[in-house]
Symmetry: C2
């Protein structure tokens, strides 16, 4: 049965999965071709270099993150939106424990070499940071919003890293609870009206 899915789409999806599983540096175009069930010779028609397919994967991740954040915005309450960042389903947790965060891991790996691919990966975390800052602003945290967003995204990334290091999804659940308690207490204190003057970032 011939596959009808567009080969380019299949190659990007295969590269996305493999880069998450084994990292960008260890993933070859041949691995990607095999995973996508596309002849290696055909790969070069779509992507001249691994860098080019890396760019396409990051672009796909960016689209997925944007879609995820747009979905969170269906909830009119910025507090609930932020808390949703900490609701990670079991399947995702298993993947994080096994392979790490698909975004954080990529930033870590590509960051060492620097260059435009690293900059594009950094943009993914930047998008999450900016979105979180917007939510804190909506909650009335004003100038503190950037530091609060930084604390939130940084804590989530640290949680992912330790979950991956110790291969333990329970660690993420435990640490997500800690971050959630901080967030709930912070927002509750802002609702009592004291926060615009004295919001604590940790």
């Amino acid at each position: 049965m011939p596959r009808k899915t567009d080969k380019r789409v299949r190659l990007i999806e295969a590269a996305k999965v493999l880069i998450h599983r084994q990292g960008f540096n260890l993933t070859t175009l041949a691995d990607i071709a095999q995973e996508a069930d596309v002849p290696l010779g055909n790969v070069y028609y779509y992507f001249k270099t691994k860098e080019a397919i890396g760019e396409a994967v990051i672009e796909k991740r960016a689209g997925e993150i944007a879609e995820y954040l747009t979905k969170l915005e269906e909830n009119s309450d910025p507090r609930a939106r932020l808390l949703s960042l900490l609701h990670i389903n079991t399947e995702e947790l298993e993947l994080i424990a096994r392979y790490g965060c698909s975004v954080g891991g990529l930033c870590q790996e590509l960051g060492k070499q620097g260059g435009s691919l690293a900059d594009q990966a950094a943009k993914l975390l930047h998008d999450l940071l900016t979105w979180s800052e917007t939510q804190f602003k909506s909650l009335g945290f004003g100038e503190k919003s950037y530091d609060l967003a930084l604390n939130l995204v940084s804590n989530i990334q640290g949680m992912y890293l330790l979950t991956h290091t110790f291969k333990d999804p329970k660690l993420a659940i435990r640490q997500a609870k800690t971050i959630q308690d901080w967030l709930e207490k912070l927002i509750a204190s802002s609702k009592t009206g004291s926060t615009s003057r004295s919001a604590e970032v940790a």
Copy 2:
């Protein structure tokens, strides 16, 4: 002028630096030989595989961490010891911004493949976690100590990851301040005697 330093020591030091700079997977035995100024043929006398030199590097890192933590214990105050984890000098910050955390990055990279080298790298973060837990216990946080240590180490790792992603040492300074405020407030509240009952982990 012949070098008097032991070749094995030189190879481990070179591997340590290169693995931090470019990651384990991209570092070859030839790179290490060149950096250490040891003929490649000689390398095999000391290390049969890259895995073996990876183990030696992790062992060296473990020794350095143990030494660092022992030095922190010269201060009799566990509060000051914990706060010291957040005092990162400018040179270290520049290295973190450029190449990421030498420990966290290794755990992230090796974790994907798993195996004994990944387990040994994980032990480095485990040592930091256990040490931090001991400090919180000394401060009277009892059963909450593990979660507090997890929060602290996780937050520091997240801070390093974002600093590296955005190549911005100022980000680390900003986030270290946030973590420090949390830690100081937490410990101050424990000193008022209320914490053994109601220590907040975030």
